[in-house]
């Protein structure tokens, strides 16, 4: 059921009216490494719009451009051409320092491992992005998030005293503390056992629903991807299709069509 994603995904009309609805928009994003004959096209013209409150998984075989997509969409790297909008800001032409300041207020990150600073308490880890942005902590929001991720009693502990699943919950709370336009998760359960991983993914899904947050998750694991509302397939630097509410088996079938993974 491969189809031309470029037209299908772009459900909302461009710009202006969508400022409250769209969380992330990529327009004709190309990323090329190197020049001349040795140039590598990592992304060959990506168009994508994700609405607020969506939970998407980006899947693709290795070398398909998942990491480049994540870096470019999250504002860690700038596209060679095209533009990236987070909320209603075009970040594709921002300079490094401004981008860093923009990211800390509008983008959240969740990684596979080494997510937390061992020297800080759980609560300090969660509020770190606010502190770096010199923003006051909204206690009510902090309490709500910490309760939501189930860490109420562990606020004053240090990361070393927590299990891997608990640490990843802290990372989720930290990614949400700034009420970002989008949260990017890179293999968020890669370091966890399957039961803990499932709990973390359920939490992510629940957060997107209850707190109206937007999550973009990059993974190569069909089981993980099946927790997302929508799975978007990437191959050879371009989107090649998507599925809504896909089961693990459907994802496996789809991926098999894309080749080695």
């Amino acid at each position: 059921m491969t189809m031309n994603i470029n037209t299908s995904i772009e459900t909302s009309p461009p710009r202006a009216q969508s400022s409250t609805r769209q969380a992330l928009r990529l327009e004709a994003v190309v990323k090329r490494y190197g020049t001349g004959a040795s140039a590598v096209m990592a992304l060959r013209g990506i168009d994508l719009t994700l609405s607020r409150g969506s939970f998407s998984a980006i899947m693709g075989p290795s070398g398909s451009g998942k990491s480049t997509f994540l870096n470019t969409a999250a504002g860690l790297d700038t596209p060679t051409s095209g533009s990236v909008w987070i909320g209603d800001t075009d970040i594709s032409r921002m300079r490094a320092n401004r981008l860093a300041r923009f990211r800390r207020e509008h983008v959240g990150f969740i990684f596979q491992a080494y997510n937390l600073l061992p020297a800080l308490t759980i609560e300090q880890n969660v509020t770190l992005p606010l502190m770096l942005a010199h923003t006051r902590v909204d206690r009510a929001w902090l309490d709500r998030i910490i309760r939501a991720v189930g860490l109420g009693e562990l606020r004053d502990r240090r990361p070393a005293e927590l299990s891997g699943g608990q640490q990843q919950r802290v990372a989720i709370a930290r990614a949400l503390i700034t009420r970002p336009d989008a949260v990017f998760a890179d293999e968020p359960t890669g370091a966890l056992d399957s039961r803990t991983g499932r709990q973390v993914l359920e939490l992510l899904a629940q957060m997107t629903r209850e707190l109206n947050q937007t999550v973009v998750m990059v993974t190569h694991d069909p089981v993980v991807a099946s927790h997302a509302d929508r799975v978007i397939y990437l191959a050879d630097g371009a989107f090649v299709g998507y599925q809504d509410g896909a089961t693990t088996q459907q994802i496996i079938d789809q991926m098999s069509g894309l080749g080695e993974w």
């Binding site: 490094a96 990684f111 596979q112 600073l117 502190m131 770096l132 942005a133 990361p159 930290r174």
Partner: protein
């Protein structure tokens, strides 16, 4: 199998191994350099200039052994044993024996050395014009001096301030290409030279020519077996017989090298050990993994030892070569400071390098075994789990040792409260070393305490950088300690080294100013003042009192706390009839009037206390030329630091010096006559200054000494600087992931840099405070012992310079390390890979 692992580990953890490599390399360089100084003190020297023609030079032993087995070098020329000359002439292997005497003269204000003409046979000098001196008023001039005059001219040479006229009858030049340059020489007739020479003209050095077929070494061997108590010199060693200052310089080099080597090597080993443990700690995860998959603790230790052997071995081998450069640089510095002659040649055998390599590699291996014990013993599962945090606890043994050494150090610093005088200063001086080791052992704990004190306000700071820095520092006190402790050690060491010199110099100059009551200080121009010269001065109209002062040194031997002990003191010989109008030593007991001959002595309170002597007691002395004397103490005075701790009768002391001359004469004038006396004496060819012109006794030695300390300090601080930069770069490199994470969470690069700047300020401040705290007890102790003041008189400029230079260095190093650590893109550091 192990080798494969070692190679893989080295490839994988290049950064951490580079740190160990640099630490070992620099430590070896330092140890080699010091080793060369010590070896040069034993074997180095100056080429002979004058004594280059004789096969073997024979002199007396220029040192003596004390009861406790220490060899004390003698600073005055030791006379040959009375029967030595006759015995030499009896030797079958000796073809010819030529005696030499040296008398210092002044020729138009510059020094020349006078010798008998027969001794020209020992030298490269041959007549080029005229004839040899025969009458007592005839002279042959040499070298550069020859250009100032001509055969037939009359010149004035002064001995001891007394002028005499000589007629130039010949000009000699060296037959070799190189003209002697270390001194200017003139030759008198043998009788005239002998009449002027010290010790009544007895030869101090004798040259011996071998019979054909006898090698110089064979001849030297025969001389040593045939005649006891003489020293023989052949080849380049003959320079040591010619130049007394070279022997002194060699003694100095050994003393400097070994005193400085102790501290330097201690610090070097500490740095290597702490670098190693930093490196091993950064790889705990690897070791835990190996333990988890079945490696035994012994295998882990084995692996670590092999790694260290490879890295440290390479570092040590490469570090030995620049050690020779370091030694040359120090030689140059010492020569500039006037501690060793400018032409003093270093011995350069491979022995110091080999010694340094063995020492440093052995120390590194020992440190590796100690550092590897923790990862080797740890429960692997636990290790993998807690691998991303640092352990904060110190072993109990380490803590206990540190505390005990610290307490002993503090007690030793307090020694001057119980004992008085210079001897008590040895306590605080040793205390510094104990306190340094203690601080090294307790480092992380001290840093944690400091963080509790200083960190509070920072952790409540609204600035995220300050907050993060403070929080990181608290939970990573060990990493911080690795940076702080070497800086603090450097500051502490620097303050005590420089401070001690300043305290002593300040007190000496205060005593000298207070005690010197004479109106004028009269010196003999280019040489000293003889008894006749002093008499001339005393007879000058308007002179009320003239007190000739000769300077030398005396070693006192005594029993201290049940052990035989010896101490070399500066000594002065004064006129026993002197009164307070020229010199006021601040007498406590007895009187200088009782000084009579060699068997009476006056001591400073310091020396008297050390020797446990009171007026009327007998002390055991070795004079400057090694003569043993049992002398009765007739007086005790306080101003030992300003004038010398031992005072003897002028004539008695002069007989045991190289030149037999006084250094200067203290003159008090009749009221209102000062200007006239000054003019009259100056016209008579003396050098006359007011009393402000006289330095405290030993000021020159102290200046040289403080120059040596300064050079030593620069080398040690330079080493510490390299070590600190190295440690900081290593420790910062480990934090790549932390910096990356912070950036991904929204920290700008500037914020990360500012966090590290806050951390570097903490490092600098804690190191400065700790360093000053380390230096304070010994300095207060030394100050109490020397001047009785609890507040050490150290120039604030020096203090600030030492503290600031190291602190600033740490901040620069950390800033550079942070920049280079952040070079990789944050996402590629964190990514999804562990």
């Amino acid at each position: 199998m192990v080798n494969t692992l070692v190679r893989a580990a080295i490839r994988q953890h290049k950064g951490s191994f580079v740190g160990v490599f640099v630490a070992v390399l620099t430590a070896t360089m330092l140890a080699t350099g010091l080793g060369i100084l010590i070896e040069s003190g034993i074997r180095g020297g100056v080429h002979p200039e004058r004594y280059s023609a004789a096969d073997v030079m024979v002199g007396a032993q220029q040192s003596f052994d004390t009861a406790e087995g220490v060899t004390v070098p003698l600073n005055e020329r030791v006379p040959l044993p009375a029967d030595a000359l006759a015995a030499l002439r009896q030797l079958p292997a000796a073809a010819r024996v030529v005696a030499d005497t040296t008398t210092p003269l002044a020729w138009a204000g510059s020094p020349v050395e006078a010798h008998g003409w027969s001794s020209a046979a020992l030298t490269p000098y041959r007549l080029v014009h005229g004839h040899a001196p025969q009458a007592p008023d005839q002279v042959v001039v040499t070298g550069a001096a020859a250009t100032r005059t001509e055969v037939g001219a009359t010149i004035t040479l002064r001995h001891g301030g007394v002028p005499a006229r000589y007629r130039v009858v010949g000009i000699a030049a060296a037959a070799t290409a190189e003209q002697p340059a270390r001194a200017q020489h003139v030759f008198l007739s043998d009788a005239a030279a002998s009449a002027l020479a010290p010790l009544g003209g007895a030869p101090s050095v004798v040259g011996v020519f071998a019979r054909p077929g006898v090698s110089p070494d064979q001849l030297a061997g025969e001389i040593r077996t045939g005649i006891p108590d003489v020293a023989t010199y052949t080849g380049d060693q003959r320079g040591n017989a010619e130049f007394l200052d070279v022997g002194v310089a060699r003694g100095t080099l050994v003393a400097i090298g070994s005193s400085f080597a102790g501290t330097a090597i201690l610090i070097a080993l500490f740095v290597v050990a702490s670098t190693l443990s930093l490196s091993i700690q950064s790889r705990r995860r690897d070791y835990a993994l190996m333990r988890a998959i079945g490696a035994t603790p012994l295998q882990i230790i084995h692996l670590v030892v092999r790694e260290v052997l490879v890295i440290a071995g390479a570092g040590a081998l490469i570090g030995a070569a620049p050690g020779y450069l370091l030694a040359s640089a120090m030689r140059f510095g010492f020569a500039q400071a006037g501690v060793i002659p400018a032409d003093f040649a270093l011995a350069s055998s491979p022995i110091p390098a080999l010694g340094a390599i063995v020492l440093v590699v052995a120390a590194a291996l020992l440190a590796a075994v100690v550092a590897a014990r923790r990862p080797a013993r740890i429960n692997p599962i636990e290790a993998l789990r807690e691998a991303s945090t640092t352990p904060a606890r110190l072993g109990r043994g380490r803590t206990t040792t540190g505390i005990v050494l610290g307490i002993v150090g503090l007690l030793a610093s307090a020694m001057p409260l119980v004992v008085q005088g210079a001897i008590a200063v040895t306590g605080p001086a040793a205390a510094l070393l104990l306190l340094l080791i203690s601080a090294g052992l307790l480092g992380p704990r001290l840093v944690r305490i400091a963080m509790a004190v200083f960190g509070g306000p920072l952790r409540r700071s609204p600035s995220p950088s300050a907050f993060l820095a403070a929080t990181n520092a608290r939970s990573n006190s060990r990493r911080l300690a690795a940076a702080i402790i070497p800086i603090a050690l450097g500051i502490g060491l620097g303050l005590v080294q420089v401070g001690t010199g300043q305290i002593v110099a300040t007190e000496a100059s205060a005593q000298s100013h207070a005690g010197l009551t004479a109106d004028l200080v009269v010196a003999g121009g280019a040489s000293g003042i003889s008894g006749d010269g002093a008499a001339v001065i005393a007879r000058a109209p308007g002179v009320q009192a003239a007190n000739p002062v000769a300077l030398s040194d005396v070693t006192l031997s005594y029993v201290l706390l049940g052990d035989p002990s010896s101490q070399q003191y500066a000594a002065q010989g004064v006129d026993p009839s002197t009164d307070a109008s020229t010199l006021d030593l601040d007498m406590v007991a007895g009187s200088l009037h009782s000084l009579k001959g060699i068997q009476t002595v006056a001591l400073s309170t310091d020396a008297a206390q050390a020797a446990g002597a009171h007026v009327g007691d007998t002390v055991h002395e070795h004079l400057g030329d090694g003569t043993r004397v049992d002398a009765r103490v007739v007086a005790i005075y306080t101003r030992g630091l300003g004038f010398g701790d031992v005072t003897m009768a002028n004539a008695a002391l002069r007989e045991h010096t190289t030149t037999g001359l006084s250094n200067y004469v203290l003159v008090s004038t009749q009221p209102g006559q000062r200007a006239q006396v000054q003019k009259a004496l100056a016209d008579a060819g003396f050098t006359v200054t007011t009393r402000d012109g006289l330095d405290a006794v030993g000021d020159g030695a102290r200046d040289a000494n403080s120059a040596v300390n300064l050079i030593a300090l620069v080398v040690i601080l330079g080493y510490i600087a390299i070590a600190v930069v190295n440690t900081l770069v290593m420790a910062t490199g480990e934090r790549r992931r932390e910096f990356a994470l912070l950036q991904l969470l929204g920290a700008t690069r500037r914020q990360v840099r500012s966090m590290m700047r806050a951390e570097s300020i903490m490092v600098a401040v804690i190191a400065a405070v700790l360093g000053v705290l380390l230096a304070a007890p010994p300095l207060v102790g030394i100050s109490l012992g020397i001047s009785g003041q609890p507040l050490p008189g150290i120039s604030p400029v020096t203090t600030v310079a030492i503290v600031a230079s190291l602190s600033v260095l740490a901040m620069i190093a950390l800033a550079l390390a942070t920049r280079s650590t952040m070079r990789t893109a944050p996402i590629s550091e964190i990514g999804s890979r562990e």
